[in-house]
Amino acid sequence: MKDNLVLNAAGREVVTEINGVPAVPYQGVGKFRPEGRKAAPPVPTCADYPADGNKVVADLRTALMKAGLRDGMTISTHHHFRNGDLVANRIFDAAAELGVKDLRWFPSAAFPCHEPLIRHLDSGVIHHIEGSMNGPLGDYASAGKMRGLGVLRSHGGRYQAVQDGEVHIDIAVIAAPTSDPFGNCNGVNGPSACGGLGFALADSQYADRVIVVTDNLVPYPCVPWQLMGNNVDSVVVVDKVGDPEKIVSGTTNITKSPDRLLIAELTARFVEAAGILRDGFSFQAGAGGTALSFALFLRDMMRAKNIRARFVRGGSTQYLVDMLNEGLTDYILDGQTFDLAGVRSMRDNPNHIHTNPFVSYNYHNKGNIASMIDVVVLGATEVDVHFNANVVTHSDGRLLHGIGGWQNCLFSKCTILPIPSFRDRIPVIVDEVTTLCGPGELIDVIVTERGIAINPLRQDLIDRTKNSGLPLRTIESLKDEIESICGGAPEKPRFRDNPIAAIKWVDGTVIDIVRQLQ
């Protein structure tokens, strides 16, 4: 072990310092108690802002200069526009023009559309990224090309890092589908409508300076104001903040893969057999193919048994909206919206609630939604025989995904991972995960096309489903069968010693690191 690494409670070698700041190794679920008081930005004065409320400035560059952009600052963005974001790249183009260096980019997630930022990483405008790195930026980091250490946090963990002052945001740039000149903004109106703006809430509250960028300026007041203009310094109007087709899809299609449909169906049957499906229950299922199909199988069962959910947590789509309208659930508590039907519903239906990571996921808090949900279904790139799971790296060791709300959701009353047991020839159930993102003690059930494995810690679930006729088996037997199909146990990816990213647990401790690929 290298001097600067220690073994954490999960038996993983982790860093004790991240980009010069001390970091606490993971101590176990519920063992570490984050303490202290909330961080706070400097308190501004009305005298420094126009009394008519008009904070519009000429362009992004002007707004950044006005915000005092200089070397070494932390710039945050949000990912509500997903792969259709047109703003983040422009911030760093402007920074480059201004000759600013060594910025820390703190996005709630990065997407393949941010590949052009590699140029600014190479040239030194950006020092490093702290946030999910999906696709090309993950590849860039995996190759050891990024200067600082990447930090991956869950949505709740990101909120906590900002709230606790672990990450101090100098300038938050919030791309908003609709805003007024004062900076009140929302995501439900305008040509780039994306639904909610919850991921930018912490940024708007805790950043020193807040810039709203919009392509749909409306006269004051912009209602609803999902984010308050009282936190905003300037407003920038541009032609286009996002590419609507890549922000939300016109329609969301369920998977046609028979194997995934089978997994989704088995998952729904498990939920029913385990007694979770009852009046007033709640569930969370995202917009991934399998999760969405699971929701539809559940819907059919709810119809057949005349069961109504109290709330459904999304990732909302047309399908969840239909369930809301049909009366199969009282509410949708929506974290992000995946299609136009979801956006319209959030705008028009008072029972379609806009949420944010503070209410949903933040661990350093007086409770959150995640632990109140009866059942969640989540994905994973790998699960090991101890039910530990990985969502950030592929089995070949490349960093390719963010954590999202995944870690936070593990606190639900029943966490199910419906996953294929192998993808092409890549085993998903392995002896040890490449990167630990979620401890096995929080992962209750693995549903694969070849059978269902229940965590031995959940004797209650085992008892309730033993006579269900479902294909229950041990996770070891699944792993053995998959290895025999794939041609033996896979080789382990070959890493160098040096870490390229730290993986934070929900409480802010370091649960694992990702190393540079050889």
């Binding site: 028979p258 194997d259 449909l261 089995s395 092409d424 020839r425």
Partner: protein
């Protein structure tokens, strides 16, 4: 001898397959270039397998390129062997990986054949998980789903599939090509002990006999004891007229199946949703099958998106007397099983008959009677079949006799 050959497929939309290109050369040994999405996990394993296959065929000097999209070892081996045999058309040796344990299981003549899932023989990705959908049978197809230039490749892939892929208890069927090409298929397939061979476009008993003779000589030379059942497919006007003779051609025929695309073209009709044009033929084949004491299997239902219409079509087939239906998509399988499941009235009636039969057995009576009515043996058999179907579909509990006695 050719100097260059290739086999298999690669590309962005290809999964679980690989493309192998071999260029022989005079010297320089083997130069293997592997491009694989699973290189980090299985690169060494793929290289070792490739070396083993090439060694088997004594290829010592060649440039070999493998573009792999996550192919399993049996597929990689089949693709390399196909490329080798395209280089050397007279090559008779085979490269066989070990036969996976537990796959060779005999099936009975009268087992359930409600659903049989067609799998294109030259596409590995659909076969790997076919068994998890629990069809009564899988058909590895060498005929219509395989383009003529790929028949050789499909034959080796299907051969390896039979040795490697676990279909979790589904009956292992292979549809061969029309004769004489089908005889070469049998040479590759029969030594792997499939349960059943589908013979396409059968029009005479002699065609069945020719297949039987070839199978029997292969079984004798390979010492195969497991039975190989036959399912001739009737798909022409002439075939329909000869259906009874075809069904009686040999004792290994267990079922007659129907193919309607070719049949409707043959009689000069258009295929319609209602299917009036094929009603006579389906009745004729069904009657011939019953007369010969074999199962009657209906055609496939080709709209994979319309499950309601599929269910209606299965219920119609059941009402006509058919035992099974072809499937071209795994999601059709549970619908087909539901459609063939007996309803509550049928089950109640069957229970009474089976109980009466048990009672007669217990008392040592030669005649089964229910109330004042005598029950003929075919009715008892039919009732037992209904009970078995209900058990298989899960709508009746295994312990139904005890439960009802307790109640």
């Amino acid at each position: 001898m050719n100097m260059k050959a290739e086999a298999g497929r690669s590309g962005k939309n290809v999964r679980s397959d690989c493309r192998v290109a071999i260029a022989l050369r005079e010297s320089g040994g083997i130069d293997l270039q592997l491009r694989s999405k699973v290189d980090a996990l299985y690169g060494a394993s793929i290289r070792a397998l490739a070396a083993e296959v090439l060694d088997k065929f004594e290829i010592q000097n060649a440039e070999v390129v493998i573009e792999d999209s996550g192919a399993l070892p049996y597929t990689i081996a089949a693709r390399i062997e196909t490329a080798v045999k395209r280089l050397r058309p007279d090559e008779t040796r085979s490269f066989l990986l070990p036969y996976r344990e537990g796959l060779r299981r005999a099936t009975t003549r009268d087992r359930f054949r409600r659903s049989r899932l067609y799998l294109p023989g030259n596409d590995p990705k659909l076969a790997i998980n076919a068994g998890i959908h629990q069809p009564d049978g899988v058909i590895l197809d060498l005929e219509d789903s395989v383009a003529p230039p790929e028949k050789d490749a499909a034959r080796l892939l299907v051969r390896n599939t039979l040795r490697e892929v676990d279909f979790y208890g589904a009956e292992r069927m292979v549809r061969i090509n029309q004769l004489p090409l089908g005889l070469a298929d049998l040479d590759a397939i029969i030594p792997q002990e499939p349960n059943l061979i589908l013979i396409p476009k059968v029009e005479s008993a002699a065609q069945v006999t020719e297949v039987v003779d070839h199978i029997e000589s292969l079984r004798a030379s390979f010492g195969i004891e497991m039975p190989v059942h036959l399912m001739p497919i009737i798909e022409s006007a002439r075939g329909a007229v000869q259906a009874f003779e075809i069904a009686c051609a040999h004792g290994s025929v267990v079922a007659l199946a129907i193919g309607l695309e070719d049949y409707t073209a043959d009689i000069g009709a258009e295929r319609t949703l209602e299917g009036n044009e094929s009603l006579w033929m389906r009745g004729a084949v069904l009657n011939a099958a019953r007369a010969a004491g074999v199962q009657a299997i209906d055609t496939v239902f080709s709209d994979v998106n319309d499950m309601d219409a599929l269910l209606a079509s299965v219920r119609e087939a059941k009402a006509l007397g058919f035992d099974g239906k072809g499937c071209i998509h795994p999601r059709q399988i549970p619908v087909v099983h539901t459609g063939f499941a007996p309803d509550a009235r049928e089950i109640e009636k069957a229970k009474k008959i089976v109980r009466a039969f048990d009672e007669a057995e217990r008392l040592g009576l030669g005649v089964v009677s229910l109330g004042s009515k005598m029950i003929d043996p075919p009715v008892v058999k039919r009732a037992q079949h209904t009970i078995d179907l209900a058990l298989r579909t899960g709508i009746l509990n295994e312990g139904w006799k005890e439960e009802e006695n307790e109640g």
